[in-house]
């Protein structure tokens, strides 16, 4: 083995995060299925089994990437699920809660590893789970049973599938056969067997009303025969299998799991295509006078259709980044349940439009703000059952989450039928807190301004917040940063609706972050051919220009500090951004390049700030704006002079 050992853990962290996210999503789904069975009822065995397997898998992969906290936590939860599966415990409410809390903690542990934050402590949660489950030990007489798949007197068929290379080449494999059979009827068992000729076959026992569909399937390596009815109703030979859900359709259906970085690569390629097309366009203009007009027009039309196709391609790739809003909504039932319980309220959650898709970037940024709004709705919006009854409302409050798209925007709404917001009371609180506001009654926009003002948050809002500093002001900032708007509609006694309208796609691009003196700028990656370090003493001055040697050629360079009349101390080593290639190459000198970031581009449209060399601005996350350079504009004049300068060398 001549290659150096690979750092397995580092290379596969992305796989780990993706897979653990899937398992955690499956756990949440399963927990929701089990909720109605607390303190009674036979738990559905397939769900219990799925939960057990999910934690088992999480334990295994967490161990492989050496995330001990996740491994231990998953191990504990697997043990608890084992106790449930073996009917040694009853699913009590504390036991269920322990599972929910454990899942949330596991999620936090994995997330902490991903962001590089400190891993949360798990000992307390483990202790809590142990005691909750110890207290839930089953009194065998009263234990809730785990429902096993019952045998029903029905026509059963033995279906034998014999795989072969030819069948595999045609896409007929044991999984596809299993899937087709489970569409036709109920698969009771599958086991491999050795055929007479020494080969391998799979025997399915399928319960189906008749053989019509089976006859359609035969051929393709499939034969079937009727099985004799068994009066005791017992399922045939189960030696190869434990009672697990076998008719689940294969997970890899119509979806492909895509690495987000590959999507970004695709976007970059599209960006390059856009640049190339622009150059082609420029070239076409240059040759116009040399070509017969009909010929040139044909070329021009081709260029135009390329532009249209490129636009479609770009949109297509952007759409691949779209993810259903269900990703955010999925968390909510747990949040609502916990909060409602803690405050002795009864709350029902409805969701609409889960399939609405928004950009993955938007989902990630909106997760916390939506969580905050939902928490507020439960804590401050919905009244206690007594208060509601006194107001003539149903004791159970309702919170509705809706997502919908209209044209180029997506709207997320959180509505509650609670007590609504009292504008006058809020105005009083706002004035007491020293917040500027217009006199008189507050209209909805002013109301929103006041509650989103940084000084407005009260202590009790911070109660259930996980200490990450999400308040109404951050909710609005986030919505605005994403190019959207936040609105509120409220009526005292009737309820409140918060509505965030966001653009469907964002202008996001990769940029290099550069520094000159104490100023920071962003340079779109796509414009930069190369970056290099330069020894300023090696620069040569010709007339009023400076040149550097790059790849054996003399390339004119210009200092950004000069272009923008900035104060910058002279440095012996600087970084250069090479724009353009060959004869047209120029370099822009900056003090240093500190890295590369994905930025949201905000164009500078107002004529007062439209200056050459600056195309827009972006916010790097600390509230300060950084200008985005238009390097093409900056270097245009220089590029024209370039060849002349080179000749003078």
């Amino acid at each position: 083995m001549s290659e150096p050992p690979i750092d397995l853990v580092a290379s596969f962290m992305d796989d780990y995060f993706a897979e653990s996210e899937e398992h955690l999503a499956s756990v949440r789904r399963s927990l929701l299925v089990l909720e109605p069975y607390i303190d009674g009822g036979d738990l559905p065995s397939s769900t219990v089994e799925e939960l057990f397997r999910s934690f088992h898998s999480l334990k295994g992969i967490s161990a492989m990437v050496e995330l001990r906290a996740a491994e231990r936590l998953a191990h504990e939860m697997e043990t608890c699920l084992g106790a449930i599966r073996d009917r040694r415990v009853v699913l009590t409410s504390p036991a269920y809660d322990a599972l929910v809390e454990g899942t949330n903690l596991l999620d936090h542990v994995v997330a902490a590893r991903r962001t590089g934050d400190a891993i949360p402590a798990i000992e307390q949660q483990i202790a809590r789970m142990s005691s909750a489950f110890a207290a839930a030990a089953a009194d065998l007489r009263l234990a809730s049973g785990v429902k096993a798949a019952g045998a029903r007197p029905e026509t059963r068929w033995k279906v034998t599938f014999t795989p072969s290379p030819e069948l595999v080449a045609r896409g007929v494999k044991v999984d596809t056969v299993r899937s087709r059979l489970s569409d036709i009827g109920r698969i009771e068992s599958v086991s491999p067997s050795v055929t007479a000729g020494g080969g391998i076959a799979f025997d399915f026992v399928v319960a189906a009303p008749d053989d019509k569909a089976l006859r359609a399937l035969s051929g393709d390596g499939i034969v079937f025969e009727l099985m004799p009815a068994d009066p005791a109703g017992s399922i045939g030979d189960m030696s190869a299998l434990a009672p697990r859900a076998i008719d689940a359709a294969p997970v890899e259906a119509n979806f492909v799991r895509v690495d987000l970085s590959r999507l970004d690569d695709l976007m970059r390629l599209v960006g390059d295509l856009v640049v190339s097309r622009a150059r082609l366009e420029a070239g076409l203009l240059r040759v116009e006078r040399f070509l017969p007009s009909a010929e040139w027009r044909r070329l021009q039309q081709e260029a135009e259709s390329i532009e249209r196709q490129l636009r479609d391609l770009r949109e297509g790739v952007m759409r691949v980044r779209l993810v259903p809003v269900a990703k955010i909504f999925r968390r909510m039932p747990f949040v609502v349940r916990d909060l409602a319980r803690d405050s002795d309220k009864r709350v029902q959650l409805e969701t609409f439009g889960q399939a609405t898709e928004i950009d993955k970037f938007l989902i990630e940024r909106m997760m916390d703000p939506i969580l905050h709004l939902v928490r507020n709705a439960v804590s401050h919006g919905i009244e206690t059952p007594e208060e509601r009854a006194a107001a003539g409302k149903r004791p159970e409050g309702t919170i509705r989450l809706t997502a919908s798209t209209i044209g180029e925007s997506v709207t997320l709404e959180i509505t509650d039928d609670g007590r609504g917001m009292d504008a006058a009371a809020i105005a009083r609180r706002g004035r007491a807190a020293g917040i500027d506001m217009p006199p008189g009654e507050l209209d909805p926009r002013a109301l929103l301004d006041v509650i989103c003002a940084p000084g407005f948050s009260t202590r009790d809002e911070a109660d259930r917040v996980s200490g990450r500093g999400v308040g109404m002001s951050v909710v609005r900032e986030t919505v605005h940063e994403l190019g959207g708007t936040l609105h509120v509609d409220t009526a005292v006694g009737r309820g409140t609706t918060f509505r965030a309208v966001l653009p469907l796609t964002l202008a996001i691009t990769d940029a290099l972050i550069v520094h000159v003196g104490d100023r920071t700028f962003a340079v779109p990656q796509s414009a930069v051919r190369e970056v290099a370090e330069v020894d300023t003493q090696a620069l040569r001055a010709i007339e009023n220009n400076e040149l550097m040697t790059h790849r054996g050629a003399a390339v004119p360079v210009i200092r950004l500090s000069q272009l923008f009349a900035l104060n910058a101390a002279p440095l012996s080593r600087m970084h250069v951004l090479v724009i353009g290639t060959g004869q047209a190459a120029v370099g822009i000198l900056v003090d240093r390049i500190s890295g590369q970031r994905e930025i949201v581009v905000k164009t500078l449209r107002d004529p007062l700030v439209k200056v050459a060399g600056v195309s827009g601005a972006t916010e790097l996350g600390d509230g300060r704006l950084v200008l985005i350079l238009d390097v093409g504009g900056l270097t245009r004049s220089l590029r024209h002079r370039g060849p002349r300068i080179r000749e003078a060398v």
Partner: protein
């Protein structure tokens, strides 16, 4: 009777209709824009938007001074353009009856004169009513 927001620049009180003012905030970081006109302080990030900031002192011909805690940014909407006006301070909301606004007299000359729509008298105070369109006009208005 219309509501106005009052603010002061270099000792003079100005007013602007409050429905033109989106919001007001304390000003923190301003990113300067190289090669922009002298009265442009730069751009700020306000509520998710990039807002150009006009230094009203400079616009009205006064010299620049360091900002202090009383300085305020009034974010105004002028025909769809969102712009920020940097004032020395801004605290008051008043209602001004139309009748107390008179056209600017010739006595108000100089640079300021080009940006004023009228003069209001509130008790013993003089308030100059701004013509926002002129203030934010990209082509600098030549002094009279």
């Amino acid at each position: 009777m219309r509501p106005y927001i009052l603010f002061s620049v270099a000792g003079t009180t100005y007013g602007v209709k409050s429905d033109l003012v989106r919001h007001m905030e304390m000003i923190e970081q301003v990113t300067s824009v190289p090669n922009a006109p002298g009265f442009i302080e730069g751009v700020v990030y306000s509520r998710g938007q990039v807002v150009p900031v006009l230094n009203l002192r400079v616009r009205f011909g006064f010299e620049r001074v360091a900002r202090d805690l009383r300085a305020r940014l009034l974010v105004v909407d002028v025909g769809g353009r969102l712009l920020g006006l940097l004032a020395d301070d801004a605290r008051e909301f008043v209602s001004i009856p139309e009748t107390s606004i008179r056209p600017p007299s010739e006595a108000i000359g100089g640079i300021t004169g080009n940006y004023i729509d009228g003069v209001a008298t509130l008790g013993d105070r003089i308030v100059l009513i701004l013509n926002l369109d002129h203030v934010v006009d990209a082509i600098p208005t030549v002094a009279a």
